[in-house]
Every structure is written in structure tokens, then in C-alpha cells.
């Protein structure tokens, strides 16, 4: 793989800038909330600005190569290096993490969840940002692992301290599931390292040499990685932490979780598991695909059964990530392209839906779907935004969700050579039925919350979308429409990198 080393400081600055903000925040004396907010906002804006600079300097003609590559010694004894870079797969997710964090910070300026303490809240948000961005740029497995784990504790505290009624249970469940996955993942990483001759943890090196590992060994190593990544995605049957975590997390936590953290798992499959272990990937793909379609149907049925709006959105994540995993399991460039697009689209749309859920909760003091109603008459703008995002989520053409979902289904018609076509076509049919369910639960949700007459409660806090919310949401809404109308903006960046990642499958 070609490495472009120009501007190699850009990624490190973008990733660690939030940590500078953390240090600054720690020095702010207690009680100075306005200073805390200013510092956080400035940090987030500066980080996003570095992100935009990265985007501008990114050579789109060479989106398949690693760019801004920096490599320096880190832990020489175990042959692990500080090795970072972005290509077309990483770049959208890297930027997404920066944008989402900025928007979350803006939203939080007047929405610090109970019990307050903005200083601690923003410190955790910024640490999360470093972890997320770092995961997407790491080109060394140990570095990847460290960043991957770095997000755990902040999210644990975010759910556990600022969450809802069941926050303590939800936060520990989230943590134990993820940690279980990452422990096995680490063992798998080490096995991969030793089986490739104990030379290097660099991903490009492992991609080159991983294919030489005997197939029966590959299958086991892949199994370890599979558990680690599948918990994070989450795939059925490892998903049970997700509804709890999402429901209990504060709005900001849910948004970050849905928009970025879930992508760490799918990204792991695309970046590490599949390219390094191609034989095992072929062996496992039908099972992964099978679990993916089970997730699609299960998530959809789960959604239909929910009475809580936030929990419904959480279950819809299980279904949507099922589409992403189905695309990945085809091992075709077409499917993986759809999957990466689906990751970004899901980040935008579901992030937005969680924002809306938070604002609904703030206004109506409940998320019980049965107690909501008539939003279009009471808070018309919020109602319309919910409508747009529901449509995007169910995969309406012209909005971003469509380009993640539809090509993923289509790609199952023609999986990579060596995979059983009949099995995949069955998956395709099941996934297509899943989209009907998706339409059903989202339209039903919309019908029950936005239409009809408001149910008699006296809502003092009822006000339409306010300025902070507009600023936080508009970029997401614009992106949902823009990527829906012109998906090639994204596909053209992703595709060359996907082709590179799937070289082993003749793609």
C-alpha cells in the first residue's frame, strides 16, 4: 500500500488537541462554568478545524493510499510503533467523530444533564473524542487497542453518572460486555502477531503476511476478533447491552455511542479482521451474514414492541448495523462500500434521532410513545425534523439512509467468489423484508408521536427548536440530505480504499 507522508503532524494534532483542552479544563477552578464551556467549545472548534484542514489537504485522487502517515517508535520492545494514517475508509469516520463531538458540545452548552458538573462532563467528552479519532487513524494493532479501550471509561462514567434511572446497571453492563470482547480481541491480536513471525504490529505488514497463516489457525484468530468487534457493533446475540446503555445514557452519550462508538466495531472488521485474515473471513462470512440478518429482523421486531421512543431508536440501531454487517459479510467491494456508507449515514441519522429524543424528553418529560402525540401542532419544527429523520432512517431514497441500506441488500445478490450464492440470496430476501419492518416501526412511531391531537397534559416547558439545537442539528440535517442526493461525494472517497482492503478477494 502506498504511504503518503506529507503533513504528517496533522493527524496527531487533530487527535490529541482535545487532550490539551482536558488539561486546560483541569486547571479551571471549581464553579467557573462559563470558562469551562468556553474552553471546551474552543477546543472542539479547533479540533474540527484541524479536521477540515485534513479534509482540504487530503489527496482525493489517492484515496486508496494511506495519507498523512506518521511513524515513530513507541514501544520498541514489543515491536509496536506509533503509526498513524488515514485513507478513504478512515477519513469520513475520523471527521464524523470530530463533527459529532463539536455538535454534542454545542448542544450541551445549555443541556448539561442532571446532576450537572459541566467540568467533568466536558472532560469525559473530550477524552472520548481523542479515543474515537485515535481508533480511526491507528495503523498499529496495539495503538488501535489502546485507543479502542480509551473510550470505555469515559462512556462508562457518562452513562453511570449522567444517565437515567437504571444508569448503574446499564453502565456496568456496557462495560463488562465491551471489556469481555476486547480481552479476546487482544489475545487474537497477539496470536496474529506471533503467527506472522512476531515482526510487527503494523496493520499493513499484517495484511501482507496474515494470508500466509494456516487456515485453521486463521479461523480461531478471526473468532477472537469477531467477538471483540461484534460486541461493539453490536451484532445479535451480543447486542443486549445496547438498548440498556442507549436508554439510560444522557442524550449526548447516546448520540456519541450511536454515531461513533458502534462504528469502531464495524471499522475493525473492515480495517483489520477481513484484510489480515482473508481465508478465515471467507469461512466466517456466511455466519456473520446470518447473524446480521437475524439482527435486522430481531431489531425490527424489537422496535415494534417498544413503548419508549429512545429504546425504539436503540433497537433500530441493532437493525441498521445488521445491514452494515450484511454488506461487509459479502466481502465484495460493492457490499463494503455500502457498509462504510451505512456507517456514516447511521451515525448522522441515529445521532440526530437521539438528539430529538433528548429534546422531546426535555419538553414532555417522558419518552413513553403512548403519552406523546400531536407534536406537529405543538412543536411543528421539531415534529418535521423527526419526520425527516424517520424517513432517512427507514431508507427513503434521496436521503442518506438509502445508500447504506439498499446497496447492502443488493450486494448480497452477488457475494464474493467462494461464498454460497443461495445462502446470500436468502439473506437478501430476509433483509429486504427487514426494510418493510423498518418502515412499519418508524412510520408507526411518527404517527403516534407527531400526528393526532396533543394529549391533554399541561406542558409548561413546551417550546420549539431553540438556537443551540438549530446550530447543533443543522449540519447533520444538511449532511443527511446532501449525502442522500449526491452519494458519490462519499462513495468516491470510500471506494478506492475499499478496493485496497479487499484485494485478497480479487476485488
Amino acid at each position: 500500500m502506498q504511504m503518503i507522508r506529507d503533513d504528517n503532524w496533522v493527524l496527531s494534532v487533530g487527535t490529541f488537541l482535545p487532550m490539551l483542552g482536558v488539561i486546560a479544563l483541569l486547571l479551571v477552578p471549581k464553579g467557573k462554568d462559563s470558562a469551562v464551556k468556553t474552553i471546551t467549545l474552543v477546543t472542539a472548534i479547533a479540533t474540527a478545524a484541524v479536521g477540515v484542514f485534513t479534509l482540504l489537504r487530503f489527496d482525493f485522487d489517492k484515496a486508496g493510499s494511506m495519507q498523512f502517515v506518521a511513524e515513530t517508535s513507541w514501544i520498541p520492545v514489543i515491536k509496536s510503533t506509533y503509526f498513524i494514517g488515514v485513507d478513504g475508509i478512515s477519513l469520513p469516520l475520523y471527521l464524523l467523530s470530530m463533527v459529532i463531538t463539536l455538535l454534542v458540545v454545542i448542544y450541551s452548552l445549555d443541556h448539561i444533564p442532571s446532576p450537572g458538573n459541566p467540568k467533568a462532563f466536558f472532560v469525559l467528552t473530550l477524552v472520548l473524542q481523542t479515543g474515537m479519532a485515535g481508533t480511526f487513524i491507528a495503523q498499529d494493532l496495539i495503538l488501535f487497542f489502546v485507543f479502542f479501550e480509551l473510550v470505555l471509561l469515559p462512556m462508562y462514567f457518562m452513562i453511570g453518572v449522567w444517565g437515567g434511572e437504571q444508569r448503574q446497571y446499564a453502565s456496568i453492563k456496557f462495560f463488562l460486555y465491551t471489556m469481555f470482547g476486547s480481552a479476546l480481541m487482544l489475545v487474537a491480536f497477539l496470536a496474529l502477531f506471533f503467527k506472522t513471525g512476531a515482526e510487527s504490529f503494523a496493520i499493513p505488514y499484517l495484511v501482507e503476511n496474515g494470508a500466509g497463516i494456516a487456515k485453521n489457525v486463521q479461523v480461531w484468530i478471526f473468532a477472537g476478533m469477531f467477538v471483540g468487534f461484534a460486541v461493539k457493533v453490536p451484532m445479535f446475540p451480543f447486542h443486549t447491552w445496547l438498548p440498556d446503555a442507549h436508554t439510560q445514557a444522557p442524550t449526548q452519550g447516546s448520540v456519541i455511542l450511536a454515531a461513533i462508538l458502534l462504528k469502531l466495531g464495524t471499522y475493525g472488521f473492515v480495517r483489520i479482521a477481513i484484510p489480515t485474515l482473508p481465508d478465515a473471513a471467507l469461512e466466517w462470512a456466511p455466519w456473520v451474514g446470518g447473524l446480521a440478518v437475524v439482527g435486522i429482523i430481531y431489531g425490527a421486531l424489537g422496535c415494534l414492541a417498544q413503548t419508549d421512543m429512545k429504546r425504539l431508536v436503540a433497537f433500530s440501531s441493532v437493525a441498521h448495523m445488521g445491514f452494515v454487517m450484511l454488506g461487509i459479510s459479502t466481502l465484495t467491494p460493492f457490499g463494503v462500500n455500502a457498509a462504510v456508507f451505512g456507517m456514516v449515514a447511521h451515525g448522522l441519522i441515529t445521532g440526530m434521532l437521539f438528539f430529538i429524543a433528548g429534546s422531546v424528553k426535555e419538553r414532555y418529560h417522558t419518552l413513553e410513545i403512548g403519552k406523546l402525540g400531536g407534536m406537529l401542532t405543538q412543536v411543528p419544527r421539531l415534529g418535521w425534523i423527526l419526520g425527516l429523520c424517520s424517513m432517512a432512517s427507514l431508507g427513503l431514497p434521496g436521503l442518506a439512509g438509502f445508500w447504506g441500506e439498499f446497496p447492502a441488500i443488493l450486494s448480497a445478490y452477488n457475494p464474493a467468489a467462494g461464498l454460497n450464492v443461495t445462502v446470500y440470496r436468502t439473506y437478501m430476501v430476509i433483509a429486504a423484508i427487514g426494510t418493510v419492518f423498518a418502515a412499519a416501526y418508524l412510520l408507526w412511531l411518527y404517527q403516534r408521536t407527531a400526528f393526532g391531537t396533543p394529549n391533554g397534559h399541561d406542558h409548561h416547558d413546551l417550546h420549539d427548536v431553540n438556537t443551540h439545537e438549530w446550530i447543533a442539528w443543522l449540519p447533520l440535517l444538511v449532511a443527511i440530505i446532501a449525502f442522500g442526493v449526491a452519494p458519490n461525494l462519499l462513495f468516491s472517497v470510500i471506494d478506492p480504499a475499499v478496493q485496497g482492503a479487499l484485494r485478497a478477494f480479487g476485488g
Binding site: P76, V77, F145, L153, F157, R167, A183, L184, V187, F193
Partner: protein, 504 residues
């Protein structure tokens, strides 16, 4: 009579390399000074003693450093019975630094409690001297002497809260089980001597009687010696003293036992299995494998059930011991050097983190006067700095990057996978599962600190004496730095070669 005369005639005084012995000599002088100064110091000036103890430790650290920086880091004394090599220097450094942090932890505690102050420092120094000697001992006799040297003062320290029944129980239990372990070990050592006709470890390794096919007696000798140290490092099922002793002993002493004393046990174990029993790996490897798996698992399961903080840490330290044993279970094979590195790295990281943990516990218990985990409720809301420090140490113990603990676990897993035998893989998976279970109780404490209400609404601020603040600062910074730049500690692990091991 003739024999005696003959041996007396043949005896010449050995040439002593005083530079190599300088750390021990400084400590020995230091502890005499502490004892003497104590006699002539009025009660109000007894704080001097802690200062003197601290200086003795730093004074001993100096020659350790010069020895390490010297070109020739390997010095063999007394016909190879006492060896100063890289491994021993790293471990001596660890003991001295850990000792210094213990002094910082103890000073306020000892001043304020009803303790015999002078003797406290004297015994602490004596025990540390034993540990420093242990790092260099390469002979059954000197190993045993060092072991008793470090253990006997520790028995007394455990019972230091004189009028407290629990403290007495702590000391008594520790003493009885410790002596029992010594007896078992001595029996094993006597068998070894009988077989090898020498007490020198390298001779034992070289003697034909430990080669090839094993008779029951040879296996028994090896197992007995390992069992003796299994008590010292509180490996399951020889851990039963640890929770009671840890809970009953004064908290700084508990820190000392769970860090320094435990590390000394591991040092001896490592030296013995690598330099004396390399041929007998078919005996001790499976034995340590079982000990490791049991120790991790049982320690964890019991820790999950604890409501008392120190008791929980006691079981957690049992379980951590299982992780140190993990690489040792493959140390006899191709993974030997990687296993030795893992043990050293794990001990360093664990020492730093656990000392920090105890410093935080000491700081908080000054206010709460309680050992219950629930007494930490809402700590973050009224003492955010301590809350964060607790979190750092707990997360490091749980092995979560980017805090120090992960690199220890990583090195241990790495050693197992280097060995690449099915049994090693199984142990690695057991270790991985256990590191998840462990978060159950570490996370429980974090939950208490961050998410629970303050008990009785008592939010009076925690006043931390400056010595504790320094200890907290040192350990927290070290925990973070080791986690982010693990190359530093791995470097120590890499140079820590034992003379005589791996055929060297």
C-alpha cells in the same frame, strides 16, 4: 578434629566487592542509626525517624543506581552465592522505591496512631534489607536467610496495632502460616541438598540428579520449595492468611505486605525456577499453571463478594498474583526470557498502582474512619481529585489502557502466546476472562465513588497530609506514564536478565 583443622587452613577471607554490597550496607547502617536515634529522641521529635528511614532508602538507592550505570552490571560474590545482576538491580530499585513510598504512606499514620514509632521504622528497614538481599541470593541458604529476614519483621508489623484484636489476629495468622510455609520449604531444600550435594542454585541445576527421569523425591523437593513461596505470594490455595492479615494489619503495613513482600516472594520464585530448576520444568510448570489459574479465579470470585475495601483489595491482590504466575507457567520453555520480562514488568506496574491505591485509601479513611466500600459513596462530588485518583488506580489494576496496568497484562499474555502450546493458550483465555470478571469489583468501587450518594450527607472535605499527597502524586504520574509510554518499563524488563538462567 582433623577435618576442622584442614578446612580452617584452607579458608581464606573472600574478597568483598564493597560497591556491589553498598545498598545492603547503607540499609544496615541506616537501621542501626534509626534504632539508636530512637533511644535518645524525646517523644515530640520522633518524626525525625521517618525522615531518617526515608534517607536510608534513598541512600541505598544511590549505589543501586551507580551499579546499574556501571559498564559491568554483573558482579558475582562469594563463589556465586550472592550475585548482583541486572535482574537483582531492577528488583532492588523496585523494593527501595516502594519502601520509600511506604514511608510516605506511614508517616502521618504512625504519628497519629497509637504505635511504637521508633521500632516501626526499624522493622520496616530490616524487612526491606531482607528483600534487597533476596534479589541477589543465589544459594539455598542465603535465600532462606533473606526470606526470614524479610518475613519476621513483617509478622510483627502486621500485629502493630497492639490493642486491636484484629491486628493481633492478623499478625498471628501470618506468623503461623508463614512459619509453616518456611518449614515445608526447608524440607524441600534439605531434599535438594541431599540430591545435589550443594546449596548453590547453579549447582543444583547442573547436578545430574535433577536431570532426566524423575524419582518421586526429586519432584517432591521442587514442589515443596515452590509451595513455600506460594504461601509468600498468597497463591491459592495457600492464600488463606492474606485477607485476614491485610484487613487486620495497619493499612500502610498492608500496602507493604501486598506490594513489597509479595514482590520479594516472586523474586525468589523466579530465581529458583529459572536458575535452580530449569531441568525440572516438567514438574513446576504444570504446578504453577494450576496455581495461576486457581489464584486468578478464586481471588476474583471472593473479591466480588467483599464489602470491606481493604479486604477486597486483599483478594484483588491475590488475583493479581495469579497474573504474575501466568507467565511463570511457561518460563521453562522457549518463552523463558519473555516470561521473565513479563514478571518484572507486571511487578513494577502492580507495585506502583497498588501503592497508589493504598495511598488513596489512607487519604479517604482519614475522613470516613470506615473500611466499607460504601463509605466511598459520592467521593467524586466532594473530593473530585481523590475520586479521579481512585479511578486511575482502579482502572490500572483492572488493566484498562492507557493506564499502567494494561502493559503488565499485555506482557503476561505475550509470554503465553510466545510459548504457543495449547496449555498456554488455555491459560491465556482463563486470564482474559478473569480480567473481565475483575472489573466487576473494581467497577463497583468506581460506581460507589461516582454514582452513589454521599453517606449521611457528610461532605466535609478530605484533608490529605503532604506526605500522602506526594505519594499520591508519584504513583499517579507513574501509573499514567507507564501506561502511555510503556517502553520505559518494558526496557527494565528487557535488561533484567538473571545470571545463570537460560543457560547464561
Amino acid at each position: 578434629m582433623e577435618l576442622l583443622a584442614a578446612s580452617a587452613a584452607a579458608w581464606t577471607a573472600p574478597t568483598v566487592d564493597y560497591h556491589a554490597l553498598a545498598p545492603e550496607i547503607v540499609l544496615a547502617v541506616g537501621l542501626c542509626v534509626v534504632l539508636l536515634v530512637d533511644l535518645f529522641t524525646p517523644e515530640r521529635n520522633k518524626w525525625l525517624l521517618s525522615v531518617l528511614t526515608g534517607f536510608s532508602l534513598l541512600g541505598a538507592a544511590l549505589p543501586t543506581l551507580t551499579l546499574a550505570l556501571h559498564d559491568d552490571t554483573t558482579r558475582s560474590l562469594f563463589d556465586g552465592r550472592y550475585v548482583v545482576d541486572e535482574f537483582s538491580l531492577v528488583m532492588k530499585g523496585l523494593f527501595l522505591v516502594a519502601g520509600y513510598v511506604i514511608v510516605l504512606l506511614s508517616s502521618a499514620h504512625v504519628e497519629e496512631g497509637d504505635y511504637w514509632r521508633g521500632e516501626y521504622w526499624f522493622l520496616l528497614l530490616t524487612s526491606l534489607l531482607g528483600m534487597v538481599m533476596m534479589a541477589s541470593s543465589r544459594d539455598l541458604v542465603s535465600v532462606f536467610v533473606a526470606l526470614e529476614f524479610l518475613s519476621i519483621p513483617a509478622y510483627m508489623l502486621a500485629a502493630w496495632r497492639k490493642r486491636d484484636a484484629k491486628s493481633n489476629e492478623a499478625g498471628m495468622k501470618y506468623f503461623l502460616l508463614g512459619v509453616f510455609a518456611s518449614a515445608v520449604m526447608l524440607y524441600g531444600m534439605s531434599l535438594l541438598y541431599g540430591l545435589a550435594n550443594s546449596t548453590l542454585l547453579v549447582d543444583i541445576a547442573g547436578s545430574a540428579s535433577l536431570d532426566g527421569e524423575f524419582a518421586a523425591v526429586q519432584a517432591l523437593a521442587v514442589v515443596f520449595v515452590v509451595v513455600g513461596f506460594a504461601f509468600k505470594v498468597s497463591a491459592v490455595p495457600f492464600h488463606t492468611w492474606a485477607p485476614d492479615t491485610y484487613e487486620g494489619a495497619p493499612t500502610p503495613v498492608t500496602a507493604f505486605l501486598s506490594v513489597a513482600s509479595k514482590a520479594a516472594g516472586f523474586v525468589a520464585l523466579v530465581v529458583l525456577v529459572l536458575t535452580a530448576f530449569p531441568q525440572a520444568r516438567d514438574v513446576w510448570q504444570p504446578f504453577i499453571w494450576v496455581l495461576s489459574a486457581l489464584t486468578m479465579t478464586i481471588g476474583n470470585v471472593f473479591a466480588l463478594r467483599q464489602t470491606n475495601l481493604v479486604r477486597m483489595i486483599a483478594y484483588s491482590s491475590v488475583s493479581q498474583g495469579g497474573f504474575v504466575l501466568m507467565p511463570l507457567a511457561v518460563a521453562g520453555g522457549a518463552a523463558g526470557e519473555s516470561a521473565l520480562r513479563a514478571v518484572v514488568v507486571y511487578l513494577v506496574v502492580y507495585a506502583v498502582t497498588n501503592l497508589g491505591m493504598f495511598a488513596a485509601i489512607l487519604a479517604v479513611s482519614r475522613k470516613t474512619r470506615s473500611g466499607d466500600i460504601t463509605s466511598l459513596g459520592g467521593l467524586f462530588s466532594y473530593a473530585p481529585a481523590l475520586g479521579v485518583l481512585f479511578t486511575i488506580f482502579l482502572a490500572s489494576l483492572a488493566g484498562i489502557p492507557p493506564l499502567g496496568g494494561w502493559i503488565g497484562k499485555f506482557a503476561a499474555f505475550q509470554a503465553l502466546l510466545t510459548d504457543a502450546t495449547p496449555w498456554a493458550y488455555v491459560l491465556a483465555v482463563i486470564g482474559a476472562v478473569n480480567s473481565v470478571i475483575a472489573f466487576g469489583y473494581y467497577g463497583n468501587v468506581m460506581r460507589e465513588i461516582w454514582m452513589r450518594p454521599v453517606p449521611h450527607g457528610d461532605t466535609t472535605p478530605v484533608v490529605t497530609p503532604s506526605s500522602l499527597q506526594i505519594a499520591l502524586g508519584i504513583t499517579a504520574v507513574a501509573t499514567l506514564v507507564l501506561g502511555v509510554l510503556p517502553g520505559i518499563v518494558l526496557h527494565f524488563g528487557d535488561v533484567a536478565d538473571i545470571v545463570g538462567a537460560f543457560g547464561g
